[in-house]
């Protein structure tokens, strides 16, 4: 309990220090606030609901064997695509500096997406074979 109270007090102190730094050193607080709130709102109100809808669609339309691999593929490709938005859009590219953002990011992303898709298809085929064998043996138990 003492450790928890100490962590709590330390946490509040560090947070307050960060808030003080922000208020005293940064002049454009409205823009900071917009970005802080926008990140949380976009995540909670747009990103997660989209994934939830995809989940419902997947459980309706995808055969059982493909669901797990497709979800795993979404976790990998979805998160990596999101973190690659700044390079995929090349928003920071500058004509005077060809060494910045100097890869073909679209091609790189397509290769990555191809690998993920290949992984999803392979896993689906393996699972449907295993599933079929289990049905033949009559040991198939449905749950979850």
């Amino acid at each position: 309990m003492t450790a928890r109270v100490a962590l709590g007090a330390l946490g509040v102190a560090l947070t307050a220090y960060g808030g003080w730094l922000l208020v005293t050193r940064e002049s454009d607080l409205l823009d900071v606030a917009t970005w802080l709130v926008a990140g949380a709102v976009l995540h909670d109100a747009v990103l997660v609901p989209t994934v939830l809808v995809l989940g419902v669609v997947a459980t309706r339309w995808l055969p059982w064997a493909a669901r797990g691999p497709a979800a795993a593929g979404l976790v990998v490709l979805g998160s990596v695509t999101l973190l690659a938005v700044p390079v995929l859009g090349r928003f920071g590219a500058r004509a005077d500096n060809p060494t910045l953002l100097d890869r073909d990011y679209t091609a790189g992303w397509l290769v990555l997406a191809g690998l993920v898709l290949a992984g999803v298809v392979t896993a689906t085929l393996v699972r449907s074979r295993l599933g079929a064998r289990r049905v033949e043996r009559g040991s198939n138990t449905r749950s979850g």
Partner: protein, 377 residues
Amino acid sequence: MRAPAPEDFTSRLHGPALAARVGPALGVCFGICFLTGLLSHYAQQPSQPVPFPPGPAWGYRFTQGLHVVTGTVAVPLLLVKLWTVYPRLFDRPARLDVRHLLVTALERLSVLVLVASAVFMLATGLANSAQWYPWSFSFRTTHYAVAWVAAGSLVLHVGIKLAIVRDELRRPLEHEARPSVLTRRGLLRSTWLAAGVAALATAGQAVPWLREVSVLGVRSGDGPQGLPVNKSAAAAGVTASATAPGWALTVTHGDRSVRLTREDLLALEQRTEDLPIACVEGWSASGTWTGVRVRDLLDRVGAPRGSDVVVRSLQESGPFRTTVLQAGFADDDRTLVALALGGEPLALDHGYPARLIAPNRPGVLQTKWLDRLEVSA
């Protein structure tokens, strides 16, 4: 139509069993990011109560590469972590007495601060590494201040959740025979896989042998003389002054001063050092630099050992136009006024006619297009 309630989320992929497993990994990533970030800010302080050491030469490169890789890896971890606890967003207070409501409101506020600051840190950090600034605030000031907010609210969160994490980690994840989508173990494995792919796809900007696989790295590592450029001569507005025939480096100590043209500098004893350029944006690359030891130049004006040096660039504006080279770096044998890179005269974008290069230093302090080195008497 009513608002969703936590019970509406029936998937076994939500809940403390997974949150307690992804959370600690995410906490470690944020901890590494926070500490390496503090280190970078300290390294950029002009006056340092404890001098930042000039060795190991690869220290800054390693810590800042780690900063960006762990921040990148934190993206899938944060997304999955938030997914596991998402139903809690719709929690309603269990009782309606004032004390309980107040405690609940404070806890939820702390979670909101944590989520907002965590997403903010990753989004602004990733954009900065690609030199994309779609905002009007100062990245450096804000990323630093919000880092304290994120670290503080994370420590508070750990304090609140520690007991739950401990209990959950004692219970093994049970076997799930035939889940509707993914098993809990399956989601965990996918998360670690996503984290690994995120690292491999970007780390080549700092780790040379990963360049071929890092298809999403901000830099391939190529550039003039085999080294990327952070700011070009054109962007710094120095093309004319850096190529002017009358250029000379001025070295002063009190009222003693010498002016050395590039030919004068080339006539002095030349030293060659392998030193990395490591940028605050997380990319780094190693170069073979040749030039004159800064210490040799300071000796010519009788500046004693232990003196800080004010370094001025030809740049007419920018926060790093004038910087301080602390005594520990100025007196280090590896610190050079570099005139050549990879055996060729320095390219204009690498700081021609002369640039500073020192071990274990932030790239923004490796001043290009040198104008003056000043030691006060």
